[in-house]
Amino acid sequence: MNCLTVSDLEKATYQKKIPFDALIELTHFCNLKCIHCYCVTENRPLLSLDEIESLLQQLAELGCLSLTLSGGEVFLRKDFFEILEIARKKHFIIRVFTNGTLITEGIASRLADFSPVETELSLYAADAKIHDTITRVPGSFEKTCQAVKYLKENGLDVVIKWIIMKNNLLEHPKLTQLAKDLGVSCRSDTLIFPRNDGDKTPLEQRLSDEELVSAYKMLGKPVLQEKAVVVAPQERSICGAGHATCSISPYGDVYPCVQFFLKFGNIREKSFKDIWFDSEAAREWRTLNTFADLPVCRNCSIIGDCMRCPALISLEEGSYLDAGRENCRCARAKAEARKELAYRKEPI
């Protein structure tokens, strides 16, 4: 049998606008109070189990295969296992995002029955005090680490992930080692977003220019390639959000991505299919495919290093057509990190 990866299929579905990859935020409520978190709870009812079942049916009919269940904290929903049951019956690849603090031995064992392809837990430091300072809940480090062990014991694939910020910059190598010790994969990112209501408090955790360079030097490959990637603007895709991926908020709003608040519609008002194919906002967004379609970015010399995020740009600059100061800053820091690393390699 031939085989493909999820990424291969995502590329194949991009052109056809099949919502291959969906993320559903089941709730914005959380038992942690992370200093950099973007979630804001709203005074609207969460999608009910029936509404989620109908949504999953509609997504499956349109060809969605990859499903991420996220929060807030998903285990705060009393019907979470019922949602998993429905997702399993509709044959989705399931991925779960959680902080892990509510996962007991029994819950890990129940979760294993649904064979999620990955369970991703947020762990911000290898040092308990630093992690708990970030989550603002004492004891959360121990609980998350214990959850990783329970999940591993039940044969689940676990990923620990973290945002690199001021409070945990020096923890990065220790966290990488901790992941190795725990026998799990790890992933990290440097992007910090404003909160959903526009509050910029989380941005206080952003690394300075110097710290960013130092972070990229630590991250190395694949985030930082040895040589600058030279790519023509028409060869560089902008973002798959809204083409083959989508996000649904706890209140039924359909967006291209979690924090990309270009609202396509709400599943309480229209079918997902109508929203996905007929929304004016979706159609307009989909006219942009590569950097060549972006007047402000098409002549930039560092697009090979740019992880241009239209969600972040919309939030900070007002329009996804803008350049995005934070993405530009990150791209420049990558270029600088590469220069410094190359300098070090030269013989004295």
Binding site: M1, L4, V6, L9, L65, S115, V117
Partner: protein, 87 residues
């Protein structure tokens, strides 16, 4: 082999997109596209079915010699089992 029964592993994700069925293994994270015969077999595996009945269904559905179908089916089921897509 004739009496050996097979059925889908319930934890395997799959979806038919524009006529092609894709099986996704939660264990290897690989995705397997099926051709029309593979798709037919996969549909037959929704309920437990033995090799003999499965072979008979294939011969009724497709213009194929029984010996060829038997060999191909045997190989296909072996691959599905190896990838834990069926049990």
């Amino acid at each position: 082999m004739d009496d050996k029964s097979f059925t889908r592993n319930n934890n395997v994700a799959f979806r038919t997109i524009e006529g092609t069925t894709f099986l996704a293994s939660p264990y290897s994270k690989k995705i397997y596209p099926l051709n029309s015969v593979g798709n037919f077999i996969w549909n037959n595996l929704e309920k437990t079915i033995n090799f003999r009945d499965l072979l008979s269904n294939i011969c009724n559905e497709f213009d194929v010699e029984k010996s060829v179908a038997e060999s191909d089916l045997s190989e296909f089921l072996e691959e599905l089992q190896k990838e834990r897509l069926i049990k």
